[in-house]
């Protein structure tokens, strides 16, 4: 009976004051939504580092840059992220480990006469077959078997390229003219699911992934462009694959997949190889080599930039500003409600019940906060994605976000209602009843 009275009083009272509660809900939900959107980005990115397929992935790097010069002026501890072809091939020989060597280039697609397309430059990654398995890239059409059967003239298309060239149809077995040479489509990748370009985070982790993938054998035929002057430590201006293949230019992106039990043996082998190179002056510096866990490499490479690091803190502060603001309005609300509370007390409601009535009102308000936060978060996410397209796949509201939203909304509202509620429950009826209900 007592609980029913409290609920009924709270609902009636909420009905009388609904404009104020809606204002409180708007302010609180704005703060929580901003916090959710910003922290979501940070959490999604950091949790992306923990994906199961990255647990056993390592990035070996060698310090084969110039003597007496840091590879990166801003961070002297940074070793070159790429290595020479010879070094990559030598590391690939090391047992144990499954290696993925690749490099980025560009080829031109010559459309068939039936296609109403003009010449199309395609961003290309030349890679080993193991690359797809190591980076957990799934196939929409075709698969690993098709790749191993096709000798060297195969090409794997990204889903987007398949949409562009073949309107999304199964293109496995079709031929593509790339730089005047024909390649057979062996597989099509599934739509991009990774939050960032895991295999190459140095030059913009959120830049688009490659349009097509070619095997190493294709590089001998196409002699594709190798770009970037910074690649060659002797100052040579890198140009074509065959020019730099045997040289000291650094252009191969090397990764290795190791079981935990294999790491020690692999480290010893790399150390011994590095010692050989150091003895001949090929490696320099106090740290001639490093083997990074994928997660550590992403952190070192700044996948999560400064803005992404500081904005969650700003968002927390912003949320608290909103919460204190809501508390202020609730306090004002409690002052307004004191004559009513004095009447309730006079009619036999205990101070505890008066507090309960106020908290129930806040509880009802928190349901509106949940709903509004959900709407604001969805709007915020689409606005954020519009402003920062790089985070297109990194920002989404999952079930866990919804759960956090409900918990924060209700707990914040109840917590910040406590002080105004207690103040209301300590009402002195004699003051208000004497005044005839005037505060």
């Amino acid at each position: 009976m007592k609980a029913e009275t409290e609920i009924s009083l709270a609902i009636k009272s909420f009905g009388f004051q609904w404009q104020k509660y809606m204002f409180i809900a708007a302010v609180m939900s704005l703060g929580i939504a901003v916090f959710l959107v910003v922290s979501n980005l940070y959490i999604n990115l950091t949790s992306a580092f923990e994906q199961p397929h990255l647990h056993q992935l390592y990035k070996p790097v060698l310090n084969d840059w110039k003597k007496d010069e840091a590879f990166d002026e801003l961070d002297s501890s940074k070793l070159p992220p790429l290595m020479s072809y010879q070094n990559s091939m030598a590391l690939a020989q090391i047992e144990p480990g499954q290696n993925a060597s690749s490099f980025k280039t560009e080829v031109i697609y010559y459309p068939s006469q039936a296609q109403s397309l003009s010449l199309l430059p395609l961003s290309t990654r030349v890679s080993s077959i193991s690359f797809f398995e190591i980076f957990n890239l799934h196939f929409k059409f075709g698969g690993k078997d098709e790749l191993t059967q096709k000798s060297g003239a195969w090409v794997v298309l990204s889903n987007q390229t398949n949409e562009r060239l073949f309107a999304g149809a199964n293109s496995v077995g079709k031929k593509l003219n790339l730089n005047g040479h024909y390649f057979e489509v062996a597989a099509v990748l599934e739509e991009k699911t990774h939050l960032f370009r895991e295999h190459d985070v140095v030059n913009g982790a959120f830049e688009g992934s490659e349009d097509i993938y070619l095997p190493w054998q294709a590089a001998d035929v196409l002699n594709p462009v190798i770009r970037g002057k910074k690649l060659c430590k002797d100052g040579k201006y890198a140009s074509r694959y065959l020019d730099v293949k045997e040289g000291s230019c650094l252009w191969v992106n090397h990764w290795v997949k190791l079981a935990d039990s294999e790491l020690h043996a692999y480290e010893q082998e790399v150390s011994s190889y590095a010692q050989q190179l150091s003895a001949t002056g090929m490696l320099t510096g106090e740290t001639p080599y490093q083997i990074y866990r994928a997660k550590d490499w992403y952190e070192k490479s700044g996948v999560i930039n400064n803005d992404s690091k500081i904005f969650p803190l700003l968002a927390i502060a912003f949320m608290f500003v909103c919460a204190v603001n809501a508390c202020v309005i609730l306090y004002a609300q409690a002052i307004e409600q004191k004559p009513d509370a004095a009447n309730w007390y006079a009619f036999g409601l205990s101070r505890r019940s008066i507090l309960s009535v106020f908290l129930i009102q806040s509880g009802i308000c928190s349901l509106f906060i949940v709903a509004l936060t959900f709407v604001f978060s969805l709007v915020g996410i689409s606005v954020f994605k519009g402003i920062f397209p790089a985070y297109e796949t990194s920002l989404y509201l999952g079930l866990d976000s919804f759960f956090i939203m409900v918990v924060i909304s209700i707990s914040f509202m109840l917590f910040f209602s406590l002080f105004p509620g207690i103040s209301l429950s300590r009402v002195k009826p004699v003051v208000y009843l004497k005044q005839g209900g005037v505060a």
Binding site: P121, D307, F318, V328
Partner: protein, 402 residues
């Protein structure tokens, strides 16, 4: 006005004062750090590039075939572009300034020693028309002559022995001396120094976030590569129609190249700085909401304090207080609270701004930024207190004391 009395009132209404202090302190701390980040982002946007960005078109073409005489092709495109009505200059270039795209970073020193102090610059390979194509201001010396420009294969590392540097590079390498006639050395090729023949006032690099952004060196060379950049200056601001005209002209006249990108330098810069521009928008939004929240918070608290203290006010009136005294009483109450806020938030602010500046590599919070934020929020506090305080002066004394 008896400030001590007001201070006692602040202590008496400690909960509302506490809420005000927490709210405004948080706002000042957040806003000061937002100002710090804002300054960092806005500064890079405001820097002058040394070129009329709206009037320059950047064009990227690439070979569609390997069997082409690239030198002839480049000359043909250059001549086609120069013949367009209104074009005031065309240059080939190896990387587009401000673009964050492809380019060449090169270290230079003033002595033939690999250990010597070096400056990291952006190396531009341009032709003799670059001065007018980029509308650069030549401060000293002369620009390249047409016969000095080398047409070289991209893999040929032998650079020309003439260089034109920007003023920042001159200052960094030669301090207050003139660089004209002096030698600069690349650590990779100490045997072949370059002679500085001129100094231009300003020319920014390719990568705004790189240490090489402020320092640039031009050499007279046309890179015969699979891809060539052109920069074209027009007498009028670049329009979409002009860009389309250039694309169709090249597509129709030169069948061996593919026009990959055509953009005005202004758009290239905007794209390159897009993240910063967007972030400034977000920071503006955050600042606006925080100011509005402060306004609402102070207003609501003041309004209800006035409402709660109506009887006290009536008593004060009956004791001879003037309306001005009552107005001053409520205003001073919030001003006192605000002074406490400023004192409390200062050390937290310094700590927080140290963290921000550590992340962004910017100087720590300056007094100017802090005082701007303090002044802004102070004004907001006074504005939000003014109306409720004025209402207090309109208290009906007779009715309340009856």
């Amino acid at each position: 006005m008896n400030i001590l009395l007001v201070f006692k009132e602040v202590l008496f209404n400690r909960w509302t004062s506490f809420l005000l202090i927490v709210q405004i302190s948080l706002v000042i701390i957040v806003l000061s750090n937002v100002a710090l980040i804002y300054e960092d982002k806005a500064q890079s946007l405001a820097e002058k590039s040394g070129m009329p960005e709206e009037h320059i078109l950047t064009l990227m073409v690439r070979q569609s075939s390997d069997d082409v005489d690239v030198e002839q092709q480049v000359k043909k495109i250059q001549s086609l572009l120069e013949d367009i009505n209104g074009v005031e200059g065309v240059t080939t270039i190896n990387g587009v300034p401000l673009s964050s795209g492809a380019g060449w970073q090169q270290e230079f020193s003033t002595v033939a020693d690999v250990q010597a102090d070096k400056v990291n610059t952006t190396l531009y390979m341009v032709n003799s028309a670059a001065l007018s194509a980029l509308d650069l201001k030549l401060e000293k010396g002369r620009f390249f002559e047409a016969h000095e420009v080398q047409f070289s294969n991209a893999s040929d590392y032998n650079l020309p022995h003439l260089a034109i540097i920007n003023k920042a590079t001159e200052k960094r390498l030669f301090d207050d001396q003139s660089a004209v006639g002096k030698l600069i050395y690349m650590p990779e090729d100490l045997q072949n120094p370059m002679t500085v023949i001129g100094v231009v006032e300003e020319l920014k690099g390719v990568w705004p976030k790189s240490p090489s952004y402020d320092f640039s060196v031009m050499v007279p060379r046309v890179d015969l590569a699979f891809r060539t950049f052109y920069m074209i200056r027009h007498e009028r601001p670049i329009t979409t129609e002009f860009s389309e005209k250039i694309t169709s002209l090249i597509n129709n006249e030169i069948k061996t190249v593919l026009v990959e990108r055509v953009n005005s330098l202004k758009d290239v810069k905007r794209k390159s700085f897009q993240d910063n521009i967007s972030l400034l928008g977000v920071l503006n939004f955050i600042a606006l909401i925080l100011v509005l929240l402060t306004l609402s918070c102070v207003f609501v608290i003041s309004f209800f304090e006035v409402k709660r203290q109506k009887k006290n006010v009536a008593i004060k009136f009956s004791l001879g207080y003037s309306r001005k005294n009552i107005l001053g009483y409520f205003l001073w109450r919030n001003i006192l609270v605000y002074i406490v806020v400023v004192v409390i938030s200062l050390p937290i602010n310094i700590y927080a701004s140290n963290y921000t500046s550590l992340l962004y590599g910017t100087p720590t919070l300056s007094w100017l930024e802090l005082s701007s934020v303090v002044l802004l929020i102070g004004t907001v506090v006074i504005m939000a207190t003014a109306f409720p305080s004025w209402l207090a002066t309109k208290t009906e004394v007779a009715r309340l004391l009856k």
